[in-house]
Symmetry: C2
Subunit: 199 residues, 2 copies
């Protein structure tokens, strides 16, 4: 059933049939309806979640009620508040589903047992964290030094082609750290540039 998960494993490590069978047993399937929470601020993040289907987001809400989205997770991606997951402290983040979604959840005891019984997963998670760190560093550098327009261009390049249709404008703006008005202005300018080039 969780075929995408094993496809992703196979990109980084080679598992025997026995190891596949065993690793399957550590995951708990979970379906979320659109807008349903996986994690609410104030709770401890008990899982790292693999997205088999759907789309989720990780975000904070500040004192003024403004949402700040720090991550989207499409099919084949992982999502979690790692700090809360590892430390056991309550999370400042929310995770919810932006579409009906199907997840595979890995709890902390299950992850520890999996790493102990199949040490190859140390390598899988090492590579996964490495790629995630690179992406996060890139975003951080962008936030400090790029204009909103450059950040928008970069996002469009790295995300699936379906992104603009799947993520509402105000959430895209929140992810980019700009107002919806600024995003709308950037998009208007892009559309105009494209028309000029076509003429």
């Amino acid at each position: 059933m969780p075929e995408l998960l094993f496809q992703k494993f196979a990109e980084k490590i080679k598992l025997t049939e026995e190891e596949k069978e065993l690793s399957r047993s550590f995951f708990t399937p979970k379906k979320l309806r659109k807008k349903q929470y996986l994690l609410q601020a104030g709770d401890v993040c008990k899982y790292i979640a693999f997205v088999e289907k759907g789309l989720l987001r990780l975000y904070t809400v500040n004192d003024k009620g403004q949402e700040h989205i720090t991550q989207f997770a499409f099919e084949g991606w992982w999502i979690s508040d790692l700090y809360s997951f590892l430390s056991g402290e309550t999370s400042e983040y929310n995770i919810d589903a932006m579409e009906d979604s199907e997840l595979l959840l890995l709890s902390k005891p299950a992850e520890e047992e999996m790493l102990e019984k199949i040490p190859k997963f140390e390598r899988y998670f090492r590579i996964l964290l490495q790629n995630n760190l690179i992406a996060t560093q890139k975003r951080l550098a962008g936030t400090l030094s790029q204009s909103a327009e450059e950040r928008y261009d970069e996002l469009i390049q790295v995300c699936p082609a379906s992104l603009p249709h799947r993520i509402p404008q105000h959430m895209l703006a929140s992810f980019l750290g700009i107002t919806p008005e600024t995003l709308s202005r950037i998009r208007g300018k892009k559309a105009q540039d494209t028309r000029h080039k076509a003429q």
Copy 2:
């Protein structure tokens, strides 16, 4: 000689004397004078570097000549442009020494051989990357949602006590993504608050 390195290893994995001896052979010692580069933008980042002594920074320089510091590395920390190191593409970053420093360099072939011969290091690097990712995510969330003053407070909390004496004002400001004037205003305000409390 590289005692700090083995102290750091021991916090996360248990190495036999034989493994210690072997792992030592993968590292190349390197001394840098203050202001000397370890990496210059346009070159490929060939090493991940462990700081035995000293202080380094990772930063970009934009078209207008402005520096944006994304990381400091104190004794016991690692520093690298991971993206360039892993992809073999040229780096947009510079790494240089802010003090006379002593490093232990690990090249890509050396890292691969070390992981192959001593698979325990998969776990070491997995945990290292995990902690680094959490810190980077925290900084990113802060950049998007916190005020400059909140970011300053957080930095002071997580960094060694020696930080204010070792990092020049304009570099601290660059790391926080604010102007030196804003940093100076924040510090002035803090000093005033402290005086008021003392009265």
